[in-house]
C-alpha cells in the first residue's frame, strides 16, 4: 500500500534521511561561503611592497598642549600662542630640520583666506630659525598648478624672504606609501622627498568650510601630501581625513582662525564668505585643535564625523577643554 502524499506523514527513516540531506546542504553552503570569504576585501591585483616609513614627529615628553589666543595680528597671536605652550624652543632645537606644511591648495589671493596666510609662514619660519633650526622647508602639493598657487597666494615670497626653502612637488618626489591599518591610503603616492630630510613637522592651515567634509582645517591639510588622482577619496572623505591624521603625527600644529571661511568652501572666492573670528590656536593634539576650530565655523562634532573618528582611532581628544588650553588676548 502506497503512503498517501497529501497526508504528510513521515516515517522515522524518511525524517532522518531528509534531515541529513538538509544538514549536509547547509554545511556545504557554509563551507563554500567560508572558502570564498575574503576578510581583506578587494584590492590591487598586485600588492606592491613599500619600504617607506614615516616617523612619529611628535614629542611625547611634552604631553598634550594647546593655546587659544584672540587677536587680529597674526604674528603677535602666533608668538603668544607658542609662548603659552612652552615657547618655540620646546619644539625646535638647534640643528632641527623643519617641514612647514602649509595649505597652498589654490591660486587665491591671501585676503580670501583659502590658503595659509603669508604672515604665518614668515613668522613661523623666523621663529624656527631663531630657535636654531638648520633649515625650514615650506611645501604642499596644491590642487591647482603649484607655481601659480605658491606665487599668487603670497606664500612663496613670504617663505623666501624669511629664509625658508620652497619645495614644489615634482613627479619624482613621490613614493608609494601605506598607512598601517589604513583602508584607503594603501600603496598611494605620497610627497616623500621633503619628509625624508626633516625631523620636525609643523602643520598650519586656515579654518574653512568644505562642501564635502564640512570643514577643512589641520587634519584635512595633510591631503596636500598625497599625489595621484587623490580626488577619488572624496567619496569617503571622512575616512580619508582620519587616515591622514594617522599618517602624520606632527610636532606642532597652528590653526589660523583670524579670518574664517564660513561658506562656499574650500575655494570661497568672495570676501562675503568670510567672518573675522580673530582667533589663533596652537597645539600638539591635532584632533583637539580641529575640535575647537569647529566652534569658529558654528559646527558641532556631529557635523564633522572625522573628528570623532580620529578620536576613536586614538589620535587625540575631541574634548579640547580637557587639555586646559592656555587662553590669551593680544590687543
Amino acid at each position: 500500500m502506497n503512503p498517501d502524499p497529501d497526508k504528510n506523514d513521515l516515517t522515522r527513516r524518511q525524517f532522518i534521511t531528509r534531515a541529513v540531506k538538509a544538514g549536509g546542504s547547509i554545511a556545504a553552503a557554509g563551507v563554500a561561503g567560508f572558502w570564498f570569504h575574503d576578510s581583506k576585501g578587494p584590492g590591487r591585483s598586485k600588492e606592491i611592497e613599500t619600504d617607506i616609513r614615516l616617523p612619529d614627529f611628535s614629542i611625547p615628553d611634552l604631553g598634550p598642549r594647546m593655546s587659544i589666543i584672540r587677536g587680529r595680528n597674526r604674528a603677535d597671536t602666533l608668538r603668544l600662542a607658542l609662548k603659552s605652550i612652552g615657547g618655540i624652543e620646546s619644539f625646535i632645537k638647534k640643528g632641527d630640520r623643519v617641514l612647514l606644511k602649509v595649505n597652498a591648495a589654490f591660486a587665491s589671493p591671501q585676503m580670501l583666506s583659502a590658503t595659509t596666510h603669508p604672515q604665518i609662514v614668515s613668522e613661523m619660519t623666523r621663529l624656527c630659525l631663531d630657535a636654531g633650526a638648520s633649515s625650514v622647508i615650506v611645501s604642499d602639493n596644491p590642487i591647482n598648478d603649484p607655481g601659480s598657487c605658491f606665487a599668487l597666494s603670497g606664500i612663496a615670497d613670504a617663505a623666501r624672504s624669511a629664509g625658508a626653502q620652497l619645495f614644489l612637488p615634482r613627479d619624482d618626489a613621490f613614493k608609494l606609501f601605506s598607512v598601517p591599518e589604513g583602508k584607503l591610503i594603501r600603496n598611494w603616492p605620497v610627497l616623500y622627498d621633503p619628509l625624508k630630510s626633516i625631523n620636525k613637522v609643523i602643520g598650519t592651515a586656515p579654518v574653512k568650510d568644505h562642501h564635502r567634509s564640512g570643514a577643512s582645517m589641520i587634519m584635512k591639510n595633510w591631503y596636500g601630501l598625497l599625489g595621484g588622482r587623490r580626488n577619488i577619496f572624496h567619496q569617503d572623505i571622512q575616512t580619508i581625513i582620519t587616515e591622514l591624521a594617522m599618517m602624520i603625527r606632527p610636532t606642532l600644529v597652528i590653526l589660523d582662525g583670524t579670518t574664517t571661511m564660513m561658506t562656499n568652501g574650500p575655494t570661497g572666492g568672495s570676501l562675503a564668505d568670510l567672518k573675522e573670528t580673530s582667533t589663533l590656536i596652537a597645539g600638539t593634539d591635532q584632533v583637539a585643535v580641529d575640535a575647537f576650530g569647529a566652534t569658529l565655523l558654528g559646527r558641532s562634532l556631529n557635523d564633522l564625523p572625522f573628528i570623532g573618528m580620529a578620536e576613536a582611532a586614538g589620535l587625540g581628544t575631541a574634548d579640547y577643554q580637557s587639555l586646559n588650553p592656555e587662553l590669551g588676548i593680544v590687543d
Binding site: N2, P109, P169
Partner: protein, 335 residues
C-alpha cells in the same frame, strides 16, 4: 516491502520553489553588487595617472584670452579647461555642487593689469548645459545681502567679485583686491563675454508662481537634486518668506504629469515620517494636503496639477497653512 512514494504535497513543492526563488534573487543581487565596490577602497589604476608635475601655467609668450580683454589687461596665465572628470582638480570638494546640477565644462583664465597695479582677476566660465542648471548653481551660492547688478537678469556683486548667469553659463569673476578699479575691470570683462557669447535667454517661469506677499527679494533658488535630503525631490524651486516675525520657505517642482506629482507628495510625506515627522489633520482648502510636524516646525505638502509644492520650516501651523493656500491659489491659476 513498501517503496517510498516520492510524491510530495503541493504545499511542500510551493515552499521549495519559493525558497529557491529567494536564493536565486539573493545570488543575483550579490552578483550585481560586486561590480559596485567603493573605488576609493579598490584604488583602480587611476592613481597611476600622471602626478602634478609643477608645470607653471604662466605663459612665456603672449597667450590667447578666452574673453576679449580691455586694453589695460593682459593674460596672466594660459586658459585651463576642465570636464566632469577633472573639475575637482580645479575646485576640489565644491565640484559635487556643479556635477549634480548638469555641469558640462569649465574654462578659466587669469588676467593682470598691464602696468601700475598689482591687480589680477580670475574668470571662471562654467558651461552648465542650460539656463536652469546655471541658475541652480548661481542661486545655491548666492551671497546674502549682495548688491544686484543689471548685467543680466541674474547677476550680483560682492566687494571683490562678480557672479552672474548668461544663457547656459554661470560666470564668476574674482579679483585680488576689493577696489573700484577691480570692479570696473571685472564688469568690463563680464560685458565682453556676454556680447561675444551667443546663447539662449534664461527663462525661469517658476519664479512667477510664488506668492508675492512677504517674499524675500532675490531669495528664489533652484535645487537640482536631493532637495531637503530626499533623493526623489529634484528640480525644486524654493523661496524664502518673512511673515511677521517668522521666516519660512515655500517650494514647488513641476513633474511630468499630475499622477507623478501626487505620488511624490505622498512619498515626501512618508519620508518625513521616517525621520520622526507626525502627520496632523490638515483641514485646509487644498485637496489631499498633508500637514506634518517635524523637529518643532511645520510642513505642508500638496500637489496641484503637475506641481508638487508646499511650505516648510514654519514655526507656526497657521503661517504654514496660510502661505500654502496662497501658493495653491497661484498654482491653480498657472498655465
Amino acid at each position: 516491502m513498501i517503496r517510498e512514494n516520492q510524491k510530495y504535497s503541493r504545499q511542500q513543492t510551493s515552499s521549495s520553489l519559493a525558497i529557491l526563488f529567494i536564493l536565486i534573487l539573493t545570488a543575483t543581487g550579490i552578483f550585481l553588487a560586486q561590480f559596485n565596490y567603493n573605488p576609493a577602497v579598490l584604488q583602480k589604476d587611476l592613481f597611476l595617472s600622471p602626478i602634478a608635475n609643477g608645470k607653471d601655467s604662466s605663459p612665456t609668450v603672449p597667450a590667447e584670452s578666452v574673453i576679449p580683454l580691455p586694453p589695460d589687461m593682459v593674460p596672466l596665465t594660459l586658459p585651463e579647461s576642465f570636464d566632469a572628470q577633472s573639475l575637482s582638480d580645479k575646485i576640489d570638494g565644491k565640484a559635487e555642487l556643479y556635477l549634480s546640477a548638469g555641469f558640462i565644462s569649465l574654462t578659466s583664465q587669469r588676467y593682470k593689469a598691464k602696468k601700475g597695479s598689482n591687480l589680477w582677476i580670475e574668470a571662471y566660465l562654467y558651461d552648465m548645459g542650460n539656463g536652469q542648471n546655471a541658475f541652480a548653481v548661481f542661486s545655491a551660492q548666492r551671497r546674502e545681502g549682495a548688491a544686484m547688478l543689471d548685467l543680466t537678469p541674474y547677476a550680483y556683486r560682492t566687494q571683490n567679485a562678480l557672479f552672474l548667469v548668461h544663457g547656459s553659463f554661470y560666470i564668476e569673476m574674482i579679483a585680488s583686491e576689493a577696489t573700484d578699479l577691480a570692479f570696473d575691470t571685472m564688469k568690463l570683462l563680464a560685458e565682453n563675454f556676454i556680447h561675444n557669447t551667443v546663447t539662449q535667454t534664461v527663462a525661469i517661469p517658476e519664479k512667477d508662481l510664488f506668492p508675492v506677499q512677504g517674499l524675500v527679494a532675490d531669495s528664489i533658488s533652484l535645487i537640482s537634486a536631493d532637495a531637503f535630503g530626499f533623493d526623489r525631490l529634484d528640480q525644486v524651486y524654493t523661496a524664502e518668506y518673512e511673515l511677521g516675525q517668522e521666516r519660512l520657505m515655500a517650494f514647488l517642482s513641476r513633474r511630468p504629469e499630475t499622477r507623478a506629482a501626487q505620488d511624490l507628495a505622498s512619498a515626501y510625506q512618508k519620508f518625513l515620517e521616517t525621520f520622526g515627522g507626525q502627520s496632523l489633520d490638515a483641514n485646509l482648502a487644498i485637496k489631499d494636503a498633508k500637514l506634518v510636524e517635524i523637529l518643532e516646525t511645520y510642513e505642508v505638502i500638496f500637489s496641484c496639477g503637475p506641481f508638487v509644492a508646499g511650505v516648510r520650516e514654519a514655526a507656526s501651523k497657521e503661517q504654514a497653512m496660510n502661505l500654502a493656500v496662497q501658493l495653491y491659489d497661484k498654482l491653480k491659476a498657472a498655465p
